[in-house]
């Protein structure tokens, strides 16, 4: 199997008296679509937040491509090539669709205050390039026709896709998608699955996916890890996980009530 792009070593995170993550040790190989499943509150979003630097883990360490990233601020983690979307869609709603994606190109551009303020030729060139690339990503996700609309005016499904486009614009090596299918209807979810597969295939980006929609998870992920009450319950290919004794036991335990 390919080398490990992301490695978590006994990562824990506490909130007050709650243990959101307990000693999670896990690794994500490069070039796969990896799904994280588990009930709400199992610690999936907390795990995303720890990896992307929204807050540091209480203990343990996280390595991205061999570099230790726990405790780094999230823009530094982003600069290393980790990008993400948010569960509740964190678009900049007053900015246009295109501008949202252009912001994703932020760390690929250099122009400083003076260059921007005086519109130096270098900045103009760079701006053209930003627009060109942003349009490419909009084209990739199929939103190029909407580029002038305010992001907040799009329907939820398109907002979710736009958020992915914005994340892709940062040219990540690892993309974290937090419940991308939440609130989407079946057709939209299918398109989304298609998009996620294209992201891996065409762009070669490793995808880490938190999702409730089992169809989507089973169809598009290469590997699945089950988080349960802040710990890793099981991991493997979708079919391995489905037939895992522990998983069956725990979930049947609840269902057989």
């Amino acid at each position: 199997m390919a080398r490990k792009l992301l490695r978590l070593e006994s990562v824990s995170r506490k909130f007050g008296g709650l243990d959101a993550l307990r000693n999670v040790t896990y690794a994500v190989p490069e070039g796969v679509i990896q799904a994280i499943i588990g009930p709400n509150g199992a610690g999936k979003t907390t795990l995303f937040n720890c990896v992307s630097g929204v807050f540091p883990p209480t203990s343990g360490s996280i390595y991205f491509d061999g570099v230790r990233i726990d405790g780094l601020p999230s823009h530094k983690i982003a600069a290393l090539g980790v990008s993400r979307t948010f569960q509740n869609v964190a678009l900049f709603k007053n900015m246009s669709v295109l501008e949202n994606v252009m912001l994703g190109r932020h760390r690929q551009s250099r122009a400083g205050f003076l260059a921007c303020g005086f519109r130096l030729p270098s900045m103009k060139r760079e701006e053209q390039e930003i627009i060109r690339r942003a349009r490419e990503y909009l084209d990739f996700v199929g939103l190029v026709d909407e580029e002038n609309k305010p992001a907040g005016s799009l329907p939820l499904g398109k907002q979710k896709i736009l958020e992915i486009a914005r994340a892709l614009a940062t040219e990540p090596r690892l993309l974290l998608l937090d419940e991308p299918a939440g609130g989407l209807n079946t057709a939209e979810t299918e398109q989304l699955g298609d998009l996620i597969r294209r992201i891996k295939k065409t762009l070669g980006v490793t995808v880490l996916l938190v999702e409730h929609d089992m169809n989507l998870v089973m169809e598009c992920s290469d590997l699945v890890v089950v988080l349960h009450f802040g710990t890793v319950l099981a991991s493997g290919t979708p079919s391995e996980v489905k037939n895992n004794e522990k998983v069956i036991e725990v979930y049947l335990g609840s269902a057989a009530n």
Partner: protein, 321 residues
């Protein structure tokens, strides 16, 4: 600059350029040019504050203090040490920049009320220092004998010269700011304003940009302060107290908090309002001023210019259709 900004800018330049020619020919308003000079100086502060508050979403109640630092650097260096005014102005900028950086780094980690409190506290400290360092600043009685602005033998003295100098600066700063907010940096500001977490996840170094825009706004205030010092040729700490910081916030808010043109229009409007048009209110002025502020903050927090512009736009669309 983009095409549509250019149209506005053209109108702006036309208006600003013709203004003194028109008012000078009418005796009754010939002094409006002096009011406009002050309005221009204040506009520099409010443009900076607009970038900070409207675009990057950070509050500052210390702008008058930064203005004071610039003004007193100019004042002290020209009176006590006989420096040329232009050099003193530069030093004022450097000093303000350093101070703003020092204050900004810890302050901007705070949010909301705490940030307001920190900047307000800093502003008060500057005010106290200006009051107490009598040897240097002249204390509360003020600093007299500041030299006018000029380079070598060329002195800016006539109101026209001052007018065009000040508004030339406003135009330049306006251009700079317009370009800035329509660039990657402006997008970063807006992103920070909208959602710091998401901005950071997109690779924007949030705290760095917050400090930078804070320093930028302080520099503009300092520059305005130096102009003020050389124009009035007298300084006292009363011009740089908390009330003035609040007035600058008000100027930005009246025009439209996320609208650079609004900041300038709001500043001009309020300067004329309090210096020319509200005179007849006498003792009622404080009350009326408070009420205007209250009504604007309550019902049109997005600002007058923005609201009027949107209204006109809607009407225009209806009529057009």
């Amino acid at each position: 600059m983009r095409k549509k900004d250019r149209i506005v800018f053209l109108f702006f330049s036309l208006f600003v350029g013709l203004f003194p020619l028109v008012v000078a020919s009418i005796k009754a308003v010939s002094h409006y040019i002096d009011v406009m000079i002050f309005a221009g100086i204040f506009s520099l502060v409010s443009i900076g504050l607009c970038l900070l508050m409207g675009y990057a979403g950070q509050i500052s109640l210390a702008q008058a203090a930064f203005m004071g630092i610039g003004a007193y650097c100019s004042g002290i260096l020209t009176t006590h040490y006989g420096w040329p005014s232009s050099l003193a102005l530069m030093v004022g900028l450097v000093v303000t920049g350093v101070v703003a950086y020092g204050v900004g780094v810890p302050s901007l980690k705070l949010k909301g009320h705490y940030l307001a409190m920190a900047t307000l506290g800093f502003g008060m400290i500057v005010h106290i220092v200006l009051n107490e360092e009598v040897e240097l600043t002249g204390g509360p009685s003020g600093l007299v004998g500041i030299s006018g602005l000029g380079i070598g033998n060329f002195q800016i003295s006539s109101p026209f010269a001052w007018y065009y100098l000040v508004w030339g600066c406003v135009a330049t700063v306006m251009l700079f700011s317009l370009n800035l907010v329509r660039s990657r940096i402006g997008r970063a500001f807006l992103a920070i304003h909208a959602d710091e977490r998401a901005a950071q996840a997109m690779g924007v170094d949030v705290s760095n940009y917050k400090v930078k825009v804070f320093v930028l706004s302080a520099l503009l205030a300092s520059f305005a302060g130096s102009l003020y010092a050389h124009y009035v040729e007298f300084l006292n700490p009363g011009s740089f107290g908390l009330m003035w910081s609040i007035k600058f916030v008000l100027m930005v808010m009246v025009g439209g908090i996320q609208n650079l043109w609004g900041a300038v229009i709001g500043t001009v409007f309020l300067t004329f309002l309090s210096n020319e048009w509200l005179h007849f209110l006498a003792d009622f002025e404080v009350l009326i001023y408070g009420l205007i502020l209250l009504v604007i903050a309550m019902f049109i927090p997005q600002g007058l210019v923005t609201v009027v512009a949107t209204k006109l736009l809607k009407k225009g669309l209806r009529d057009g259709a």
